[in-house]
């Protein structure tokens, strides 16, 4: 009897198990071929090459980045953009650059939270440190770099000094207008004044593209440098003489609301009052009380507090309305850097009493879209074909970057790469200077995305 029971149990188990297998098992299915990226085989010399590293050791980081760049270019660059996260010791970075690239002119500075390259998005918190280098070697461009500290000088004077130095470095004269000026003041400089300096020396029609050098959190630990010098406060500029096609574009992408006010008291980048009331209180009301707690208890030391203020202002920025007869108004968004104890707002653009302000509104989708739309608009505006792009320089505002969900941020690099195709480096900077072809003038605004593209004619 016992044997029979065992046999019966085994039979039932086999039957039920077989049934289960039949119901739940599926035969072999075709495999989706995983996407593959085909690395371009570069056997010939290239005009530009980008290199990068996330090593925390300055020497190793520079070596890795330079070697990668040289591997792409096959020759030593005449000029190189070098951007690094502010945690690096720039003296060490420069020393290694001078050792590896003694003949190369360098325009460098801090790129806040990280860098963007064709190899990816190397920003904090995914990477604590990163460095990028974009080397260019072509006899169709004459480069000149100049740097000036702001010791005892205002922003305009400092910028003029840097510009003259750059022109001299290029072996040119002020009377010979460059095709482009690349401008990188430190954060503490009044960016608008540096643009005025270029206008006064070279004329308002000389396009400027640039962004400020800043550290992580805007704490004052930023640097700018050339292949010769490093400064904490000042301006570094590059002048470009070339027959290559240059395209540039800057956009914020925000929607303009009807909400706004008028500045009744201001001091440089400090917005003290709007509509005769403390600026922070008015701003908070205009954006629907999103910063009520922060306005009540202002501080400049808590990083979470500052992130909340800056990201909120990155999605609901105050914008200075600049109107000129016969032109559409230009909206210059500003990032709220701090809320000060007197309820005034520390901005990263200069404002004046009587300026009209508008509240802009955006979301992370708009901000992420800029990675492609800005490039596309530059290409459309200057009739640049993607296939002919040689290299590009992008500047993406870090406050707007942090308004984008962390999972989506790495796509910024891929979207930009897809849009322009060529070699590029992207920096983390909110305040961007760019020539506005419609208004025929250089403009500066924050919370934007800007791109500079060099291409074959």
């Amino acid at each position: 009897m016992e044997k029979k029971i065992i046999i019966a149990i085994v039979f039932i188990v086999l039957l039920v198990g077989g049934g289960a297998w039949y119901f739940f098992h599926r035969s072999h299915l075709p495999e989706i071929v995983a996407p593959t990226s085909v690395a371009p085989t570069q056997q010939t010399e290239s005009v530009a090459g980008a290199g990068w590293s996330t090593s925390t050791d300055e020497t190793q980081a520079v070596q890795e980045a330079v070697n990668m760049m040289l591997g792409k270019m096959k020759k030593t660059p005449d000029f190189a953009f070098v951007f690094c996260a502010s945690k690096y010791n720039e003296e060490k970075v420069l020393a290694e650059l001078q050792r590896l690239l003694p003949q190369t002119k360098i325009l460098g500075g801090n790129s806040g939270y990280g860098v963007t390259t064709p190899g990816g998005y190397f920003w904090y918190p995914l990477f604590s440190q990163s460095i990028s280098i974009l080397g260019i070697a072509t006899d169709r461009i004459i480069w000149g770099v100049g740097i000036a500290p702001s010791e005892g000088l205002d922003s305009k004077a400092t910028a003029k000094q840097a510009l003259l130095s750059a022109i001299e470095n290029a072996g040119k004269d002020v009377k010979e207008k460059p095709a482009l000026v690349i401008n990188m003041p430190t954060f503490d400089m009044t960016q608008e004044e540096t643009l005025e300096a270029v206008g006064e020396l070279l004329g308002p029609d000389v396009p400027v593209f640039g962004a400020y050098a800043a550290d992580q959190g805007i704490k004052g630990d930023w640097r700018i440098f050339t292949n010769e010098r490093i400064y904490s406060h000042g301006v570094v500029m590059a002048v470009v003489y070339t027959d290559l096609k240059i395209g540039f574009y800057k956009e914020h992408g925000f929607e303009v609301t009807e909400t706004g006010g008028t500045i009744t008291k201001a001091d440089g980048k400090k917005l003290i009052e709007i509509n005769n009331r403390p600026a922070a209180e008015v701003y908070n009301e205009l954006i629907g009380g999103l910063l009520t707690e922060e306005v009540k208890n202002p501080t400049t030391t808590s990083s979470s507090y500052l992130t909340k203020v800056r990201v909120t202002s990155a999605l609901n920025p105050l914008a200075r309305v600049i109107k000129k007869p016969g032109q559409e108004p230009f909206y210059a968004p500003a990032m709220v850097v701090y809320i000060l104890p007197d309820r005034s707002l520390q901005l990263d653009i200069a404002v004046q009493e009587g300026d009209e302000l508008k509240i802009l509104r955006g979301d992370w989708e708009i901000l992420l879209n800029r990675m492609q739309t800005t490039a596309q608009k530059a290409m459309e505006t200057f009739a640049i074909q993607k296939e002919k792009i040689l290299f590009a320089l992008d500047s993406f505002c870090c406050a707007t970057n942090f308004a984008i969900p962390q999972s989506e941020r790495p796509k910024e690099a891929q979207l930009l790469k897809q849009a322009i195709g060529g070699e590029f480096v992207g920096i983390c900077a909110c305040g961007i200077q760019c020539f506005d072809p419609q208004r025929k003038t250089n403009t500066y605004s924050s919370l934007s995305n800007g791109i500079l593209i060099f291409s074959e004619p």
């Binding site: 009897m1 029971i5 019966a8 149990i9 039932i12 039957l15 039920v16 049934g19 289960a20 119901f23 739940f24 599926r26 072999h28 299915l29 075709p30 495999e31 989706i32 071929v33 995983a34 996407p35 593959t36 990226s37 085909v38 990816g120 998005y121 979301d363 992370w364 989708e365 708009i366 992420l368 879209n369 492609q372 739309t373 596309q376 969900p405 999972s407 989506e408 790495p410 796509k411 690099a413 891929q414 979207l415 790469k417 897809q418």
Partner: protein, 327 residues
């Protein structure tokens, strides 16, 4: 329990029930899984259509619906979500590193939404391929959405696991209940049987003490009553036996005495009889001589009788001849 006929039938019934329940369970589970799979596909197909429309409407403005794409790709069922150009280049993907890479898929240039089984990174998936017509002159782009069936598998495993646990718990519970109630029934029966054995062995003073409050207690009570009756009868019987024994003893004594007197009488009578016998012998001896003389006399008588008879028959024949002669 399983040795009896009932046990065998019961066991067979249990096996058949488990088998039937198992088959029924698998069929139902499969049915619900299929239905849920269909729901997942329909739901995600709808999402793909939403994405398609958003891409198509945003394309002219140069804006991509990244929020919608993220929301959809964050859905737990979505393994991947790719927007692919006609040449196979991934324009957007939920994973940043896939953007700009090239994908090969038979549905790249599909003109209508299609669903098929594929495997991706060794996982079985459902692939939804839907065309996106954003550039009228060119071939359509395509949205490729890979759907994981992990949630279904998880639900399936959980259902099976829970069912087995539930089955075990029910089996355990029923077994416990059956054991408990059978013990409640069989324990008093065992006690009763043991008590009856004691009573049966002759200890009629023994009483069973079963307090179940049911028919078993009544039965035990009846047994106690029976034992009590038996005990009473036994006592009475023993008493009667004692009386009888006393009586028998008394009678025996009487008989013994009687026997003794009789023996004495017999001895006396024997002596008397001996004496008479002796007299008789003497008389016998006297009579024997007389008898012998008697016998001789009898013989003489017989002889005389025979002669007489012969004389009588001759006389008869003479009278007959005389009668015939006279007739």
């Amino acid at each position: 329990m399983l040795k009896g006929f009932f046990g065998k039938i019961w066991l067979l019934g249990v096996f058949c029930s488990f088998f039937a329940i198992g088959i029924m369970f698998l069929v139902m589970l499969n049915y619900y899984l299929q239905r849920e799979q269909k729901n997942i596909l329909e739901r995600n197909n709808l999402l793909v259509q939403v994405i398609t429309h958003e891409i198509e409407s945003g394309y002219l403005r140069g804006l991509w619906p990244y929020k919608t794409l993220k929301m959809v790709s964050d859905n737990g069922d979505v393994v991947f979500l790719w927007v692919v150009k006609p040449d196979g280049k991934v324009f957007w993907a939920n994973e940043a590193e896939i953007i700009g890479t090239t994908v090969q898929n038979p549905f790249l240039k599909t003109q209508q939404t299609q669903v098929a089984d594929f495997s991706f990174r060794k996982e079985k998936i459902k692939l939804i391929a839907s065309p996106v017509r954003i550039e009228l002159k060119e071939e359509p782009w395509v949205i490729l959405m890979g759907l994981s069936l992990k949630s279904l598998k998880t639900a399936q495993k959980e259902t099976i696991f829970l069912s087995v646990i539930l089955l075990l718990l029910i089996t355990f519970f029923i077994s416990f209940i059956a054991y408990y109630f059978s013990r409640r029934i069989t324990n008093p029966l065992k006690t009763l049987a043991q008590d009856l054995k004691i009573i049966g062995s002759g200890n009629l003073a023994y009483r069973t003490h079963i307090k179940t409050g049911d028919e078993l207690e009544d039965l035990a009570h009846s047994f106690n009553q029976m034992a009590e009756g038996l005990q009473k009868s036994k006592i009475e019987l023993e008493e009667a036996k004692t009386v009888l024994e006393i009586r028998v003893a008394a009678r025996t004594k009487e008989l013994q005495e009687l026997n003794k007197s009789l023996e004495e009488k017999v001895q006396e009578r024997t002596r008397e009889l001996q004496e008479r016998l002796n007299e008789l012998e003497r008389f016998h001896r006297l009579t024997v001589g007389r008898e012998l003389k008697m016998i001789e006399l009898k013989k003489e008588l017989e002889q005389l009788k025979a002669k007489n008879k012969k004389n009588k028959s001759s006389a008869k024949r003479s009278s007959a001849i005389k009668s015939r002669l006279l007739s």
